[in-house]
């Protein structure tokens, strides 16, 4: 079910200083993070999933089967590209080789939007392949706003940034994470991916109420939800994406729907990936909860 329109890539917008397209991405419905374990079943059975989110780096390859399958899935479903290596908050020089690969993939896939994480992944030419935290300072805000603007100009479109799960905070932070996200989105024009599980994880780890986070994010900037599972270690939670979504996160999802309205949603699973049928139950639950809380789509529109 393709309920979306394309966000065009405007060549004119790649010129420095030109505003990037800022139309709010459309509501895509209820989707799933695409994983190789499900390729065959998706292609043979066309499951009732509204859209797929794909990990950009998994397809930033010279050729072969992954890209061929992505083309086939893209022909049937709306697709969003979700990266893990943009490293938008890194103080290392921008990696234009990476950005070029990302832009090439976007030209092939024509995704509804391109997202990544509000984090950094390395400095000094090294990549730690993790979504690393940084202090929420005015200095960091200026730096990330500049980087987002650079990336948006390069890609010719507004990007979407996700809040990550964090395990540490910094003594020199000058604002909360939600204040940082709100200001970043306002100043750079980027949209926000509200990862419900990550809010729950970070709130537990740092001892605040996840609903405070929820209330602090500007409702009109949120264009996507992530739902995922985690591993509870007692004193802290690790964002492992290897379990079903827990009941507390479902409750927070319901609260997020009430605040943000109808938002494109996916289930993310990265480890202990279950059969497609099993994960479709969770996708259906995201839809059922949204339908039970929000007015029908026609009335909503």
């Amino acid at each position: 079910m393709n309920v979306a329109r394309q966000l065009p890539i405007s060549p004119a917008a790649t010129r420095a200083g030109t505003p990037v397209p800022s139309a709010k991405p459309p509501f895509l419905g209820f989707g799933l993070g695409l994983r190789a374990q499900h390729y065959d079943e998706i292609l043979s059975s066309n499951p009732p999933i509204d859209w797929f989110e794909v990990i950009s780096e998994n397809y930033m390859l010279p050729g072969g089967q992954p890209l061929r399958i992505l083309d086939q899935i893209r022909a049937r479903y709306p697709v969003v590209m979700h990266g893990v290596s943009l490293s938008i908050a890194s103080t290392a020089p921008p990696n234009f080789e990476y950005l070029s690969g990302l832009r090439d993939l976007a030209r092939r896939v024509e995704p509804q939007w391109i997202s990544d994480h509000l984090c950094w992944t390395g400095v000094h030419g090294k990549n730690l392949h993790d979504l690393l935290p940084f202090p929420y300072t005015r200095e960091a805000l200026d730096h990330v706003v500049n980087r987002v603007q650079l990336v948006q100009e390069y890609l010719g479109r507004a990007i979407v940034l996700e809040n990550v799960s964090t395990y540490v905070q910094f003594n020199n932070s000058e604002m909360t994470e939600w204040e940082f996200l709100a200001e970043l989105s306002r100043r750079s024009g980027c949209w926000l991916l509200f990862d419900v599980n990550n809010v729950y994880v970070s709130a537990f780890n740092h001892g605040y109420d996840p609903r405070t986070f929820l209330e602090g994010v500007p409702a009109d900037r949120v264009v996507q939800f992530h739902m995922a599972g985690h591993s509870h270690m007692g004193t802290h939670i690790i964002d492992t994406h290897d379990h079903p979504v827990c009941e507390d996160v479902w409750e927070l999802y319901a609260a997020a729907l009430k605040r943000f309205g109808r938002v494109s949603t996916i289930i993310e699973r990265d480890d202990h990936i279950p059969p497609l049928d099993e994960i479709l139950v969770e996708v259906e639950r995201t839809r059922e909860i949204a339908n039970s809380i929000l007015p029908p789509l026609a009335a909503h529109a």
Partner: protein, 261 residues
């Protein structure tokens, strides 16, 4: 250096080398000490990279067993910090590492097995290109054949292994007990490529390997046949060359053929 840049340097050093100076800038959480919380990042770093190596080298992992693969993986991660944003390429230097680092260098079958797995991985997602077909060859007049040159499919990779790693690979793949590792008197000449979407390999005789290597370098068919004539019966060299060529074409190993100018 800005505060943010310095903090990121310290944070990264804390993960890569165990330096604790960043901890002075991190508070304890309500329920946990900062050392434990920062340790989540430290632990995730190596385990994530070793897991990626295991995905790229499933049979080497089986061959070494969990414990030895894990120890080898830790040593590789320590010696080769990732420099590419894409985890896909992290294991690329593993064959060289195994060849040059003790104790692994004492067992050349390890680097050979890693080399073969790497070649299969590289063939899997190599650049796409159309393959020529037998009918494409039929379009050339017999007298034009001496000048024909060929272009190898981008997925094609030639390996010369010094051990019986390919037999070890085949046994492990079939879930069978691998043979004892053996150092070969003559190298095992392998050709790895992608057939449709599946990476495959086969062993080449010395003569075919020579012809492939030279053909891939752009040497025309007539010269290739002259070279074959030095390997075996000169009278059948052209027929042997045509036979090898036919095999490559039907296997999808060639992506281009050109006549002489």
């Amino acid at each position: 250096m800005s505060d943010l840049a310095r903090q990121q340097s310290d944070f990264q050093r804390g993960i890569l080398s165990g330096d604790d100076s960043i901890l002075a800038e991190i508070p304890d959480s309500p329920k946990e000490k900062r050392e434990t919380l920062f340790g989540v990042y430290r632990n995730a770093y190596t385990s994530r990279l070793v897991e990626a190596m295991g995905n790229d080298h499933k049979l080497l992992h089986i061959y070494l067993g969990d414990e030895m693969f894990d120890a080898m993986g830790h040593a590789y991660v320590a010696a080769n910090p990732s420099q590419n944003p894409n985890l896909r390429w992290f294991s690329s230097s593993l064959p060289d590492f195994l060849k040059s680092t003790e104790p692994y260098s004492k067992y050349p079958v390890l680097s050979d097995l890693a080399e073969l797995e790497k070649a299969l991985n590289d063939a899997f997602d190599a650049k796409d290109a159309p393959s020529i077909e037998v009918a494409d060859m039929a379009g050339f007049a017999p007298e034009a054949w001496v000048d024909l040159t060929f272009r190898a499919h981008p997925s094609a990779i030639r390996l010369d292994l010094t051990t019986n790693a390919s037999a070890v690979w085949l046994a492990l793949k079939a879930d069978e007990e691998p043979p004892d590792a053996v150092q070969l008197e003559q190298p095992s000449r392998l050709l790895v490529w992608r057939q449709d979407v599946t990476p495959v390999f086969r062993e080449l005789a010395a003569e075919e390997a020579m012809m492939w290597d030279e053909a891939a370098n752009g040497i025309p068919f007539g010269v290739l046949c002259s070279m074959l004539a030095t390997y075996d019966d000169p009278d059948s060299a052209a027929a042997r060359g045509a036979g090898y060529l036919h095999g490559w074409v039907t296997a999808g190993l060639l992506t281009g053929v050109s006549g002489g100018d």
